[in-house]
C-alpha cells in the first residue's frame, strides 16, 4: 500500500514550497518518523518526515517549487507489511448497508422512526435492500397491520424510570394528549403541566360531545376518544395520559387498547411532588401536588395519585389503581392492580392489598386485604341535632 509524501502547508502566506534537498536515496527503506527531505518557504526551512515505514520512491527534483499537497514522492509498503483496512465507525444508516452497498436508511427516517415508535430495522428488512426514507417509515405497518413498538427514543423520560434530576431544556417539551379531561380532571392536569418545563398539554379528548370545541386553560378539546389514532398518525402528540378515574375497568381497557396500538404513555408528576431515589415507574401515571413517593417505591402503569398521597419506602403498586387525597401507605406495602382508595386511607407496613379491592375513606388497614374486597369503616354520620343547654 503506497503512501504519498506531500508538500506540507508550512506557512499561511504561501501556496508552494521549495524542495531544498532529499535526505534519503531513491528506493531506500525508511522507518516512520525519519526525515525524508527539507522544504523551504520565505520564512522557514522545514523537515518532512516519513508518515509510515516503506520504500521511498522519489518523484520531485530538488531545487524546484511544488504546490502544497502535491506529491513529492511515495512510500511503498513492502508486501509482507500490508495493512488491514482501517474500519471507521459509520454513522447511523451507513452501519447497516443496504443490498447494493448504499446506506440502509436516511438520518431523517431514523429520527422519524424513533419519534413515533417504529423499529427502523424492521422497516429496513421490509424494504428489501432499498434505502429507507421518511415516507417509508410513515407508511410502515407491522406484519399484523399495526404500528410496531420501538426501542426507547432516548432523549425523553425513559419508560421504566422517572428522572428526578436537572431539567434538560435543550430537548423539545413532550407534547401530551389528555384523554377524558373535559371536566375537572382536565383543568387540574393542564394546570399541573403548565408548571412543568419539559412537558406540555397539546389537546384534550373527551367522550362528552358538549365539551368539544371548548378550551380548558387554553388547551383545546379536540373531539372524542376515537381521534387518538388519527392524531397519532399525523404526529400531533408524543404521548397520552388517561384522566378519567370513575370506572377503573373502562380506564384499564382504554389503556390496554391504546398501548397495543403502540401509543406511548406519559408520566406526569406535579412540580411539588417529591420523588425519591430509586423510584421506578411504568407509564401513564399521574401524580398530583405534594404527593410523596419514597425511596425504592415501584409503581406499574396507569395509576392516579391524588394530592398529598404518601407511598412510603419499598412499597409496590401494580397498575390501574386510583388513590384519593391523603392516602398514606407505610413501608413495604404491596398493592395489586385496579385498587381504589377514598380520602385519607391509611395502610400499615407490610400489608398486602389484593387486586380490584375498594377501600373507603378514612379506613386504617392493619391486615392483608384479599382480592375483590370492599373495606369500610365507621363513617361519620349525624347522631342528633345539637341542643343548647343553658348557655
Amino acid at each position: 500500500m503506497s503512501v504519498a509524501v506531500r508538500a506540507p502547508a508550512v506557512s499561511v502566506n504561501e501556496e508552494s514550497v521549495l524542495l531544498v534537498a532529499w535526505h534519503k536515496d531513491d528506493g531506500a527503506f525508511v522507518r516512520r518518523g525519519e526525515v525524508l527531505c527539507t522544504v523551504e518557504t520565505s520564512k522557514a526551512a522545514v523537515e518532512v518526515e516519513a508518515e509510515a515505514d516503506g520504500y521511498l520512491r522519489r518523484i520531485a527534483v530538488s531545487g524546484r517549487k511544488f504546490k502544497i499537497g502535491e506529491a513529492l514522492g511515495n512510500l511503498d509498503g513492502p508486501a509482507d507489511t500490508a495493512r488491514s483496512p482501517i474500519s471507521t465507525p459509520a454513522a447511523n444508516g451507513a452501519e447497516t448497508a443496504a443490498a447494493d452497498g448504499a446506506k440502509a436508511w436516511t438520518k431523517k427516517a431514523a429520527l422519524r422512526a424513533s419519534r413515533i415508535g417504529i423499529d427502523i430495522e424492521a422497516v429496513a428488512r421490509a424494504n428489501a435492500g432499498q434505502t429507507v426514507t421518511e415516507a417509508d417509515v410513515l407508511a410502515f405497518r407491522g406484519s399484523n397491520g399495526t404500528l410496531t413498538k420501538a426501542a426507547d427514543p432516548g432523549n425523553r423520560v425513559p419508560a421504566a424510570t422517572i428522572v428526578a434530576g436537572p431539567i434538560d431544556l435543550a430537548s423539545r417539551p413532550e407534547r401530551i394528549l389528555l384523554l377524558g379531561g373535559g371536566a375537572g380532571a382536565g383543568a387540574m392536569t393542564v394546570d399541573v403541566l403548565s408548571h412543568l418545563p419539559t412537558q406540555r398539554a397539546v389537546g384534550i379528548l373527551d367522550s362528552n360531545p358538549e365539551t368539544h370545541g371548548k378550551t380548558v386553560g387554553g388547551v383545546p378539546i379536540l373531539g372524542g376518544l376515537g381521534l387518538v389514532e388519527e392524531l397519532w398518525r399525523a404526529g400531533q402528540f408524543d404521548s397520552v395520559i388517561i384522566l378519567f378515574t370513575k370506572d377503573i375497568a373502562e380506564r384499564a381497557e382504554a389503556f390496554e387498547s391504546l398501548a397495543a396500538k403502540g401509543i406511548p404513555f406519559a408520566n406526569v408528576v406535579d412540580r411539588t411532588a417529591v420523588v425519591r431515589a430509586g423510584v421506578r415507574m411504568g407509564r401513564g401515571n399521574l401524580v398530583m401536588g405534594n404527593a410523596y413517593l419514597s425511596t425504592a417505591v415501584e409503581i406499574g402503569d396507569d395509576n392516579f395519585f391524588a394530592s398529598h398521597t404518601v407511598i412510603e419506602h419499598h412499597s409496590k403498586i401494580g397498575s390501574h389503581c386510583t388513590f384519593g387525597p391523603r392516602t398514606t401507605l407505610s413501608g413495604a406495602v404491596s398493592v395489586g392492580d385496579r385498587v381504589k382508595t377514598g380520602v385519607a386511607v391509611s395502610i400499615e407496613p407490610y400489608v398486602k392489598i389484593g387486586s380490584r379491592s375498594v377501600i373507603a375513606s378514612a379506613c386504617v388497614i392493619t391486615n392483608h386485604v384479599p382480592e375483590d374486597s370492599l373495606v369500610k369503616s365507621e363513617r361519620g354520620h349525624v347522631v342528633r341535632p345539637r341542643v343548647e343547654a343553658g348557655r
Binding site: V12, K107, K108, L111, N155
Partner: protein, 333 residues
C-alpha cells in the same frame, strides 16, 4: 471560479481605480510580499502613491487613517490579524465610530478596517480568534463578515466606495483559498438585499417552503455548513442556511422570516460561547416569534477557553462540522 481572496484583491484594485481618494495602510502590504495573506498583492505596484506600509502600531495605523478620512480620503486599513484589533480598539471605538455622532453628519468617517479572523491553522491563542463580539454593539460601527456564499469582493467595494460610515470588515482566513459558492447540485442560493446595503445569503438544500431546520451563521462557518447541508439533502434533512453579511446592523426581518418557515433554529458562530452574536440573534428571534417555535432556540459556539496551538486541541474546542451536524439532527429529532 473565483476564490474569496481573489475577489478581495480584485475589489481593492477596482476601488482604487474608481476613486482617487481611496488609499490603504497596513503592515507588510507592499509588493512583492503583498500582505500577510496576499490581499494587497499587486496593489502597490499599480497604485504606488496610495498604498502605505507602516511601522508595527495598529493604533497609529488606525489613527492616521481616521485623520485621512477627516481630510476627505476613503482609507482602507489592513490589520494583519483580527486578534490585534485590541491594539487599535480605542481609535475604533472612541474615535472613528463616534466622530459623526459627536460632530455631525457633515463629518463622515468612511474608514474600512479589513482584518482576517478565525482558527484552524494551529496559529495559537493570539492569532486564531474570532473577536467580532468585542465590536458588536458599538454605536456607529458597522461590522461586516462575508461568507463564501457572498460576493466578498463586491461587499468590500461597497464598503469602501458606497458606505460613508466606518466599517469593520472581517475575512475568515480559512475562506481565502475557498471558491465563492455557486449554486448547483442540491443547493439553491438566494442573495437577499438588506437596508444596510450588505445582503444576506440564504443557501437551501431543498425546494420546499418549510425546511426542517434553519441554521443562522456568518463568515467562515459557511465553509463547514454549506457542504454539510449538501450532504444532509441525501439524508432527507432539509435546511435553510442563512448567512447575514452584516453582523450589526442585524437583518432581523430576514432572520425572522426564515426561522418562521422551519420553527426550529440553530445559531452558530466560531467565536467563544457566551455574550456573543448568537445571544443577540436568539433574543431578537424570541421577541418576534415567542410561542411559535417548535423547539428552544439552539446556539452553538466554540468552547469558552483559550485556543490551543496543538491541532488536536484546537479541533476539539472550535465549532466543527460534527457539532453542527449533531445540533441540526438534535433539532429535527
Amino acid at each position: 471560479m473565483t476564490t474569496y481572496l481573489a475577489s478581495i484583491q480584485t475589489a481593492l484594485r477596482a476601488a482604487f481605480a474608481a476613486d482617487p481618494r481611496v488609499c490603504l495602510l497596513g503592515e507588510d502590504v507592499l509588493d512583492p510580499y503583498g500582505g500577510a495573506f496576499k490581499a494587497t498583492k499587486g496593489l502597490s505596484t499599480a497604485f504606488p502613491d496610495r498604498v502605505f506600509t507602516t511601522p508595527i502600531s495598529e493604533g497609529a495605523i488606525t489613527g492616521v487613517a481616521t485623520g485621512l478620512a477627516l481630510d476627505g480620503f476613503r482609507p482602507v486599513v489592513e490589520i494583519m490579524f483580527g486578534d490585534f484589533l485590541t491594539l487599535c480598539a480605542d481609535q475604533i471605538v472612541n474615535h472613528l465610530a463616534k466622530f459623526t455622532g459627536m460632530y455631525g453628519a457633515t463629518l463622515p468617517v468612511p474608514v474600512v478596517i479589513r482584518t482576517p479572523m478565525g482558527g484552524g491553522r494551529g496559529y495559537g491563542a493570539t492569532h486564531s480568534q474570532s473577536l467580532e463580539k468585542m465590536f458588536l454593539g458599538v454605536p456607529g460601527l458597522t461590522v461586516v463578515a462575508p461568507s463564501h456564499a457572498h460576493d466578498a469582493g463586491a461587499l468590500l467595494k461597497h464598503a469602501i466606495l458606497g458606505d460613508d460610515a466606518p466599517v469593520l470588515f472581517i475575512e475568515h482566513k480559512l475562506l481565502y483559498p475557498v471558491d465563492l459558492a455557486e449554486p448547483g447540485g442540491s443547493l439553491r442560493i438566494e442573495l437577499r438585499r438588506e437596508a444596510s446595503g450588505y445582503p444576506t445569503a440564504i443557501v437551501r438544500n431543498h425546494a420546499t417552503d418549510a425546511p426542517d431546520v434553519t441554521v443562522v451563521g456568518y463568515g467562515g462557518l459557511s465553509r463547514l455548513v454549506v457542504p454539510l447541508i449538501e450532504e444532509l439533502a441525501a439524508e432527507e434533512i432539509t435546511v435553510d442556511a442563512v448567512f447575514p453579511s452584516s453582523l450589526t446592523p442585524l437583518p432581523v426581518d430576514t432572520l425572522v422570516e426564515c426561522t418562521a418557515r422551519s420553527r426550529r433554529v440553530l445559531v452558530v458562530e466560531e467565536g467563544t460561547e457566551g455574550f456573543n452574536w448568537g445571544a443577540e440573534v436568539a433574543a431578537v428571534l424570541n421577541e418576534r416569534l415567542f410561542g411559535q417555535l417548535d423547539a428552544p432556540i439552539r446556539r452553538l459556539a466554540s468552547e469558552d477557553t483559550v485556543i490551543p496551538a496543538s491541532a488536536d486541541g484546537e479541533r476539539r474546542m472550535l465549532v466543527g462540522r460534527e457539532a453542527v451536524e449533531d445540533a441540526i439532527l438534535g433539532l429535527v429529532a
